[in-house]
């Protein structure tokens, strides 16, 4: 029995390793933690993990930026203006009712199998939590602060900077956290259906070679990047709320 891998694998490694030793769990169903760790080291050493992470990371980042921009911009417009609420919100609600992962076949036909459909799919999934949270965050800004701003003679941009952004920030960041989870989920699905690089491809490729250790390692990587990106947003949340200390 090798050294238990640290972190997440470590939580289940004890009983899992015990299961392996007593041969209750066959190696070709669930490999021992030590073998998963070895597969990970193999992928790190031959550079496949770094390549796959870079590709998947860029897809998520581009999708987040595009979808985040759209979601926040539309949410802000709808939150600030009844006219936008009447014109933009109904079609948004209709599109939201579509399961965005169900659009994959359509996106493949429309945009091919390159990077574009994956980024667009992530963007689509990401935009709704941000849209909804931004919209409701702006509607919940204390109207008394707007009245105060009127007495003080604030311009629209001063009101935006001094009232709207700081008071909406905590809830928008909750939207960012939901969006991040959806971004990684969308990417996992999109990468397993058609991809020639990325973590999803790594996992899918491993399936063809019956490398369960690599599949499980890939899943752990997904979980870790999910936790890592969420931690970054939680740091931003604490910063945005430091005045409540």
């Amino acid at each position: 029995m090798g050294i238990d891998p640290p972190g997440i694998a470590g939580c289940s490694a004890g009983p899992l390793a015990a299961g392996q030793r007593t041969r209750l769990i066959p190696q070709d169903v669930l490999p021992a933690p030590s073998l998963i760790l070895e597969a990970g080291i193999e992928l790190i050493e031959n550079g496949q993990l770094a390549d796959a992470l870079a590709v998947s990371g860029i897809r998520v980042a581009e999708g987040l930026l595009l979808g985040g921009f759209l979601g926040v911009a539309l949410g802000t417009a709808v939150g600030l203006s009844r006219w936008f609420e009447a014109t933009v919100d109904p079609p948004m609600q209709v599109i939201r009712a579509l399961p965005h992962l169900g659009l994959i076949p359509l996106f493949i036909l429309w945009f091919g199998i390159g990077e574009l459909p994956k980024v667009l799919l992530v963007a689509l999934g990401v935009s709704f939590p941000l849209y909804l949270n931004t919209f409701s965050a702006i509607r919940q800004v204390d109207p008394k602060l707007f009245e105060t701003a009127q007495v003080l003679g604030f311009t629209f941009w001063q009101r935006f900077r001094t009232i709207i952004v700081p008071s909406a920030a905590p809830q928008v960041l909750v939207g960012v956290r939901q969006s991040l989870a959806i971004a990684w989920l969308t990417l996992i699905v999109a990468e397993q259906i058609n991809a020639d690089k990325g973590i999803g491809f790594l996992i899918n490729n491993a399936r063809d070679f019956l490398r369960i250790d690599i599949i499980i390692f890939g899943l752990i990587v997904y979980a870790l990047v999910g936790i890592g990106t969420d931690a970054i947003v939680r740091t931003l949340e604490r910063r945005a709320l430091r005045y409540r200390s």
Binding site: V151, L152, G153, F154
Partner: protein, 242 residues
């Protein structure tokens, strides 16, 4: 009127024959009032008598009314709650009172620090508003209102949410600042004792009309021979049986 007399009674804020409706509801009926510079006028009335509407009108927060509104410069308004921006430090909050003055950032901060010193909070310039006590926050709100040296200060039950002791010291602070800067004050309150103790004149508002004006001819803050009768007269006008 001579020029000297005119300057002495230079108007800080004035309403002439103002009427206002909310839909079919006539909320202000022929209201005329005048606050001169260096004068404190209290406006008392029951809830729903239109006090806040008068104040909002003078502050420029509500515009659709009939009649004339004359205000010298930009009036300052302090609300019942401090209404500070919690995500900006105290100094920045006070400096927002200078938004219309178009000063540089450092000039605004210098003046904000001076205003904070005036209200006794010089050492709180860099703290978050949520760490202040109710009285301290209300003093910051007062500093923000006064930092631009307005000619008219509008106060909407500014001490109503404070405990009795803090309220007394806030009233003392307000009068000190007023003696120094001589702005005109319109104090909206439902506290008869506060009105008698601080105002030159007390107007009683009832159902949107000024039904009574009482001139207080006594030194401020110290009860005199007439204090009890002023108090009784105002309570009577407000329909309070004691």
């Amino acid at each position: 009127m001579t020029i000297a007399a005119e300057r002495q009674t230079a108007v800080a804020g004035e309403l002439r024959h103002v009427n206002k409706w909310y839909g079919a509801h006539h909320v202000l009926t022929d209201v005329s009032l005048r606050v001169a510079r260096g004068e404190i006028v209290a406006l008392i009335g029951r809830s729903g008598s239109g006090k806040s509407t008068v104040l909002r009108l003078l502050a420029g927060l509500s515009t659709d009314h009939a009649g004339d509104r004359v205000v010298s410069g930009a009036p300052a308004l302090a609300f019942q709650e401090p209404r500070l921006f919690p995500w900006r430090d105290v100094r920045t909050n006070v400096a927002y009172g200078l938004t219309r003055s178009r000063l540089t950032r450092s000039e605004a901060q210098t003046r904000a620090d001076r205003a904070l010193a005036d209200v006794g909070l010089a050492d709180h310039a860099e703290v978050w508003p949520l760490t202040l006590s109710g009285g301290q926050a209300q003093r910051v709100s007062l500093a923000r209102a006064l930092v631009a040296e307005p000619e008219l200060l509008l106060l909407d039950e500014p001490f109503g949410a404070l405990d009795a002791l803090t309220r007394l010291s806030m009233r003392g602070l307000l009068l000190d600042l007023w003696r120094e800067h001589r702005f005109g004050v319109l104090l909206v309150t439902h506290d008869v004792d506060e009105a008698v103790a601080s105002a030159d004149r007390v107007l009683v508002l009832e159902a949107g009309r000024v039904v009574h004006t009482l001139t207080i001819d006594e030194p401020r803050q110290s009860p005199g021979a007439h204090t009890a009768s002023y108090r009784a007269a105002l309570l009577d006008k407000l329909g309070v049986q004691i």
